[in-house]
Each structure stands twice: as structure tokens, then as C-alpha cells.
């Protein structure tokens, strides 16, 4: 009996072996099926949560009217702008602090203090400073994403193998060549880890930012739906957030696979 169960399990996971990406989606899809069944059998009231079928219908409705695309573009614009600023500032600070002692003394204590502050707590201050337009939303994303980039890239620069750096220093490279060929590529894995973390923070900041005085965006869509008791629209908005987050993570994974091909593969698919 136990042997049969073990074989069955082996088969189930074995069947996804040809599509390694699929294995990651088995559990979410299973939960989706359970949800549809629960609503269909009347275990859950449709007023508190609609069925996946209803949500799909609402999704098509929003997509066909162009409403979803419009809000999506606005949200993507805010995240992109915020990320661009946050990643640039974080990278610049990490390079300054990572590559020079003076830079570290100047920047690191300040940034280490600021990073302990929950950046979402700055929302009231940002509204007073920047009003209720686009600026506070972009600023919130930028502030939230700068720190993970800074922390990871700084640590990455400082942990590049000193013995390799020493050996390369005997090869007659200039300081900038050393940085470009050895130190920055060596810090790249840490940077990409920071980037994945920053993307998560970016969506989180966007959710919070868009629920305050927004007139467009996925968060606005969800907040107005609340006033009309449209749980289906709220859930469409949540799913869009989730899919966007997942897609962003996949993009970084692809970058990692392309840029870090030199690393030995420990986990065989």
C-alpha cells in the first residue's frame, strides 16, 4: 500500500519532468479547482466570494471594455517609474559605498538607519509633501525598492573573492577595468537577488499608494469596486497584481539564467 502510494507520487511529479516550469503551478491550480467546487456546492456564499467562473466573466468584461488595460497601463507606469528611480539610486549608493571607504563612511550609516523605517509609514508625510497626484505613488515605490538593491549590491561588492581580486591585480588592469571585469560581475548575483526582492516591495508599495486618492490604476479599480460591493472586480484586481508580480519574478529568473551561466547548476530540473 505504502509502496503503491510512493509510486503514484513519483509518477505525478515525473509527468511534469518535461515541463519543469509547470511544476511550480500545480498547487495554485489545485486550490483554484477546490474554490470553484466550494462555491458551486454552496459551501461558500457568492456574496462573500464569487466563483472563479464569475471572476473570469468579469475579467473578460473589463478587458473587452478596455478599462482593465487602461488601469493596468497606469499601474505599470507607476511601478516602472518608481523602480527606475529606486534601482538607480540604490545602485548608485551601493557603488559609492561599496567601492570606497570614504563612500561607505558617508552613506552606509545613514542608509542603515533609514532602512529600519517601514517605508509605508511615510504615506501621510508624502501626501503632505507631494500632494495626491502621481508623485507620492512613484516616490513610495522608489523609496521601497532602493533599500533592497543597496543592501544586496553593497554586500555583493564587498564579498567578491579577495584572492581572485588579488590574482587579477597582478595582470596589469586599471582600477576601472578591475571594477568592470571582476568586481561588478562578481556582485551581479547579489544584485539580482536584491532586484527580485525590490520587485516584491514595488507591488506592495503600489497597492498602498493606489488606495489613497487615486483616480486610476488597479488599486483604484479595487477601491471603487468596494463601494459597489463588487467582490468579483476586487478579486480580478488582486489576480492582476499577483500575475504582475509573478511575471516580474520570471523576468528576473530569465535574466539570472542568461547572466549567471558560469555558475555550476546544483539543482538539476
Amino acid at each position: 500500500m505504502a509502496a503503491t502510494a510512493a509510486t503514484a507520487r513519483g509518477h505525478r511529479f515525473g509527468s511534469t519532468a518535461h515541463f519543469p516550469g509547470l511544476r511550480r503551478y500545480v498547487v495554485p491550480l489545485g486550490l483554484l479547482a477546490l474554490w470553484q467546487a466550494s462555491v458551486g456546492l454552496g459551501w461558500i456564499s457568492t456574496r462573500s466570494i464569487p466563483s472563479p467562473g464569475q471572476i473570469l466573466a468579469t475579467f473578460w468584461e473589463l478587458a473587452a471594455s478596455g478599462e482593465l488595460a487602461m488601469h493596468l497601463l497606469v499601474s505599470l507606469g507607476r511601478v516602472s517609474a518608481g523602480l527606475a528611480i529606486g534601482v538607480s539610486v540604490g545602485t548608485l549608493c551601493a557603488l559609492t559605498a561599496g567601492l570606497s571607504r570614504r563612500g561607505e563612511d558617508a552613506l552606509d550609516p545613514l542608509l542603515q538607519m533609514l532602512r529600519t523605517l517601514p517605508h509605508l509609514a511615510l504615506v501621510p508625510l508624502f501626501i503632505l509633501w507631494f500632494g495626491i497626484g502621481e508623485t507620492p505613488k512613484v516616490a513610495l515605490v522608489a523609496l521601497g525598492t532602493a533599500f533592497p538593491i543597496y543592501l544586496n549590491l553593497f554586500a555583493g561588492i564587498r564579498t567578491v573573492d579577495a584572492k581572485v581580486v588579488e590574482a587579477v591585480s597582478t595582470l596589469g588592469l586599471t582600477r576601472w577595468e578591475l571594477i568592470a571585469h571582476v568586481i561588478l560581475p562578481g556582485a551581479l548575483p547579489a544584485f539580482l537577488t536584491g532586484l527580485r526582492y525590490a520587485l516584491g516591495v514595488a507591488w506592495l508599495s503600489l497597492v498602498v499608494g493606489e488606495q489613497i486618492n487615486a483616480s486610476s490604476g488597479i488599486g483604484y479599480l479595487a477601491m471603487t469596486a468596494r463601494e459597489f460591493l463588487r467582490t468579483d472586480v476586487i478579486i480580478v484586481a488582486l489576480i492582476v497584481y499577483a500575475v504582475l508580480g509573478l511575471a516580474a519574478d520570471q523576468i528576473v529568473r530569465l535574466i539570472e539564467r542568461a547572466a549567471l551561466g558560469w555558475r555550476p547548476v546544483f539543482v538539476k530540473e
Binding site: 590574482a167 596589469g172 560581475p185
Partner: protein, 277 residues
């Protein structure tokens, strides 16, 4: 400066030294690691540097490689220097050929890199990532990276210490071949008296931060462990290192068991003076 292949440079008449060290002093904390050390290396000479752990031989090599800040005293070095360390120290995110050509300014850097890889027998791995190389392959890549710079001074910091016995023998043979083909002055830091006697024309024994003994090794090549001259010099070097051969007697059967290979060097009995790492 002569570029012709040299079989036994130590027997040539003296030239102007390519490395000239006078009154070298380096102190760390309480004592002097290098204490008024003077040293000349002739162009194309092969010198082994032996000594107990902490005698300052690594510090001397690092000084000659300009890896440590400028010390007190005079150090004259050739412009073209190269170092091979105990670990290969390749850049993991650059393919083998890019590691070899790193820092080269020549227009034909790739051709030079490939030629160097060919010479160390690693041409087929030119496009490989360093982390996929075996220990011996990685160390040969490190040798190619040094060789491609056409060094006048080649510094070897225990380059075979981390390799298995058979790979070590092959690498020692390779270094000897490369040295006779390119004739750089070689300074080999080693713990292994046999290795020094197989490769070098001159052995320096360091003690308390200075050169305690300077012993010529006028043996014909290729050298074998069993030659009478080899055995006599081995005893002398071990004595200079303060090792009593009687205490090493227990190691002899091991050597007999592994046996000497015909045409090869035979496995060295690894008369290790003082393993430190």
C-alpha cells in the same frame, strides 16, 4: 637579454641580475618578517625557495609580486612579471580564454591566449567556464594566464601543493618544459625538497627573514630521485631545513610501494619540511 632556450642556465656566466633585492626589511607587529634580506636572480634561472612555515618566504614572494605595500630597502624587478598561486584563482564568470587574455593590450590577444592554452594542453577547454575545470586543468589555465604575458620573472607560490600526486608530476614536467622554452627567471616557493631538486638550479633556504643557505643544484636533466647527486643534495637541503632524515625513515617504504615510473620522475617521497596550509 637572451631569449634562446636554456637547458641549464645556472652554468652560464653571470649576467646582470633581473631581480635585485638589497636590505629588504618588512615588519609585522613585534618582529621583522623580512630582515635585511638581499637576493639576486639571474635571467632565465630557476630558483626554489624553501623554508619552514613563517620563515618569510611567502612574504618575499608577495613583495616580488608587488602584492604588499612597498617595503624598506631596494627592490629592482623586471616590468613583465607573472604569478601563479596555490589556488588557480581564475575569474569564475569569464571563460578560460577570457581569463588568459585578461589585461592583455595586444591587438592579437586572442591568438596569443589560444597559443598559451595550446602550450599547456588546454586548447580544447578554451571556451569552458572555470568552475567546470578539474584542479589540474584550472592550474594549467592559471599557468597559461601567466605565460601569455611573456614574463621575465615567473613567481610560483606552491602551485602544485593542492594537486594529487600524479597531476603534480605532470604539472612539474610542464613547468620545466615551459621554462626551458621561454626562459623566464622562475622563483618557486615550495615545501617539497624533492620538487625543488627536480626543477631548480638553485635552492634558497630561508630562516628568520633572511636567506640562510644558497645551494646550487648542478644536476643534469631529466633528473631522477635515485641519482647519487640527487640523494646527496636532498640530505644537505633537509639538514639546512633542520629536518633529521632518520625521522623521515618511516616514509621510505611508502615511496617504494608507489614505485618510480620508467621515463618519469617517480613519485616524490614528499620530503615535506613543514606543511603549513
Amino acid at each position: 637579454m637572451s631569449h634562446t632556450p636554456l637547458r641549464s642556465p645556472a652554468r652560464r656566466p653571470q649576467q646582470d641580475p633581473i631581480v635585485r633585492v638589497r636590505g629588504l626589511v618588512r615588519s609585522f607587529g613585534h618582529g621583522n618578517v623580512l630582515d635585511n634580506l638581499s637576493l639576486d636572480l639571474q635571467p632565465g634561472s630557476f630558483t626554489a625557495l624553501l623554508g619552514r612555515s613563517g620563515c618569510g618566504k611567502s612574504t618575499l614572494l608577495r613583495t616580488l609580486a608587488k602584492l604588499d605595500p612597498a617595503p624598506d630597502g631596494t627592490v629592482e624587478l623586471p616590468d613583465r612579471r607573472a604569478v601563479v598561486f596555490q589556488e588557480p584563482r581564475l575569474v569564475p564568470w569569464k571563460r578560460v580564454l577570457r581569463n588568459v587574455t585578461l589585461g592583455l593590450r595586444h591587438a592579437d590577444a586572442d591568438a596569443r591566449g589560444l597559443a598559451a592554452l595550446d602550450e599547456v594542453g588546454l586548447l580544447h577547454r578554451a571556451n569552458a567556464w572555470p568552475l567546470t575545470l578539474s584542479g589540474g586543468e584550472a592550474q594549467r589555465a592559471a599557468l597559461a594566464r601567466a605565460l601569455v604575458r611573456d614574463p621575465r620573472l615567473l613567481l610560483l607560490d606552491e602551485p602544485f601543493a593542492a594537486l594529487d600526486a600524479l597531476t603534480r608530476l605532470r604539472m612539474q614536467g610542464l613547468v620545466e618544459t615551459l621554462w626551458s622554452a621561454h626562459a623566464p627567471a622562475v622563483l618557486l616557493v615550495t615545501h617539497d625538497v624533492d620538487e625543488a631538486l627536480l626543477l631548480a638550479d638553485r635552492a634558497l633556504v630561508m630562516a628568520s627573514g633572511t636567506i640562510a643557505a644558497d645551494i646550487p643544484i648542478p644536476l643534469d636533466r631529466p633528473r631522477r630521485h635515485g641519482d647519487p647527486g640527487f640523494i646527496a643534495l636532498r640530505s644537505r637541503l633537509l639538514a639546512e631545513l633542520g629536518v633529521d632524515e632518520e625521522h623521515l625513515a618511516g616514509r621510505e617504504p611508502q615511496r617504494a610501494a608507489t614505485g618510480a615510473k620508467p621515463g618519469g620522475y617517480g613519485l616524490p617521497a614528499s620530503a615535506v619540511a613543514a606543511p603549513s596550509r
